[in-house]
């Protein structure tokens, strides 16, 4: 089950991801907004609204603070796509994680490069988030390796049993940090779809038109990638249960998003690290006992 980059199956995985991830991500996000609206007693926007939003952004004027900011954001988008392509092509999962980090660093640098106070605070907070989630993701990758004996996603997914059975702690830890990765409340520190306005829009304050459009597309790709990552815990051994659990998890994320208010970064960082240590590291050590 070694990963070969130029085989058909990995190629198909990559192409499907590039073509359909924005659509799937857009629909998931649309349903998300719809459910949010229903939770608040509203009707909510059409399901395709996130996609309309993005298409609109590309119709707007290209307004920048400095031209170079687009370079960072384009790099962000491209490396988010690279992350997903590597993931769905079945590549080494650590490589995928590092590509994801690289992509986020580009986004953060884009925010820094504008020299705006709001974007600056957003960038710092995004960095804190990156630091808060990184350990859990690496530990998840190692945990999956311990169970399936493969670092390649192609190998992990073909595990004979669902890894979640022996990695419950790591799975829960991943769910915890997923809130942060999805930029949902209570961890929407750096930027948010809600009307927290003391940071204006934080990270994305100075992005408009196509620049913002690129970040939004990247979000959609990332969403699909993250959900795919969760699916690894079930793999082909329990695909239906996997999809069901992921749907429930996502619903919970929406619920938490609506039911909580934003926390301070201190709490976000501390809680993520403690959750990682308790659920992640202990689960990893416990694998020796099994």
């Amino acid at each position: 089950m070694t990963f070969e980059f130029f085989t058909n199956s990995s190629f198909i995985g990559a192409v499907l991801f590039i073509l359909f991830a924005p659509l799937i991500g857009g629909i998931v996000m649309g349903i998300d907004r719809k459910i949010t609206a229903r939770m608040q007693g509203r009707v909510g926007p059409p399901v395709l609204q996130p996609i309309y939003d993005i298409l609109k952004l590309f119709e707007k004027e290209n307004m920048v603070v400095y031209e170079s900011q687009n370079f960072w954001i384009l790099s962000y988008l491209i490396f988010i796509v690279v992350t997903g392509v590597l993931f769905f092509a079945g590549s080494d999962i650590l490589l995928v994680i590092f590509a994801l980090t690289l992509a986020h660093v580009f986004l953060i640098l884009g925010a820094y490069s504008t020299g705006s106070p709001y974007a600056h605070v957003g960038a710092e907070r995004e960095l804190i988030q990156l630091m808060a989630v990184e350990p859990m993701i690496i530990i998840a990758a190692v945990g999956l390796y311990q169970v399936t004996n493969s670092f390649d996603t192609a190998g992990i997914i073909q595990s004979t049993f669902a890894p979640v059975i022996v990695l419950p702690g790591i799975f829960l830890g991943m769910v915890y940090i997923l809130t942060m990765k999805l930029r949902k409340s209570p961890f929407d520190l750096s930027t948010s779809h809600h009307a927290h306005q003391e940071l204006v829009k934080g990270l994305t304050t100075e992005f408009s038109g196509s620049t913002l459009g690129m970040t939004e597309i990247a979000h959609l790709y990332e969403l699909v990638f993250l959900l795919g990552f969760l699916f690894l815990f079930f793999g082909t051994a329990a695909p239906l249960i996997g999809i069901a659990v992921i749907l429930i998890v996502y619903f919970l994320e929406v619920f938490v998003d609506n039911a909580t208010s934003r926390v301070k970064w201190q709490f976000a960082l501390k809680s993520c690290w403690i959750v990682t240590a308790v659920l992640g590291v202990l689960n990893l050590l416990a694998l020796y006992l099994i």
């Binding site: 007693g41 509203r42 609204q49 307004m63 009307a195 994305t204 100075e206």
Partner: protein
């Protein structure tokens, strides 16, 4: 139709309103009126916004603010003056510190009079503005840029 009409994002500025119109604008977001049905979102950031909703009359203090917000909105954009004060200065028109409606400062596309303007009226005004937004977009396509 351009996608602009499907996803108009709003920035709302309270010039020197008595807060009556502001509350009505926010009422549009509530479950009863739920403007997100039309993809309308209230952003706090002019760089993300398509529609500039101004309530209240313009005074000497906030002239620059309104101009600044307007200048930081990427084109095509439209301005909606909500409430009679935003249209003409309303009852405050003669005040020593009030210079009048928003139209004296920046080009306004839609006026929604009323004291306060009702949510239905506001939504109606914004939907009208969408037509203008669409037209501006198409003109700019023909003209090659947004100038």
């Amino acid at each position: 139709m351009s996608y602009l009409t499907k996803s108009p994002w709003i920035i709302h500025y309270d010039a020197s309103s008595c807060n009556g119109c502001d509350i009505e604008v926010l009422a549009c977001l509530t479950p009863l009126y739920d403007v997100e049905r039309f993809g309308i979102i209230n952003t706090g950031n002019p760089k993300h916004a398509d529609i500039f909703v101004v309530t209240g009359s313009v005074n000497e203090q906030n002239k620059e603010v309104i101009k600044n917000i307007y200048n930081q909105m990427p084109k095509p954009n439209v301005v909606v003056g909500v409430g009679i004060c935003a249209c003409s200065g309303g009852v405050f028109r003669e005040c020593y510190n009030v210079s009048g409606g928003v139209g004296e400062l920046i080009p306004v596309d839609v006026y929604v009079p009323g004291c306060a303007a009702r949510p239905e009226q506001i939504i109606d005004g914004i939907v009208k503005a969408l037509g203008i937004l669409d037209k501006k977009y198409k003109d700019s396509k023909k003209g090659g840029d947004f100038k």
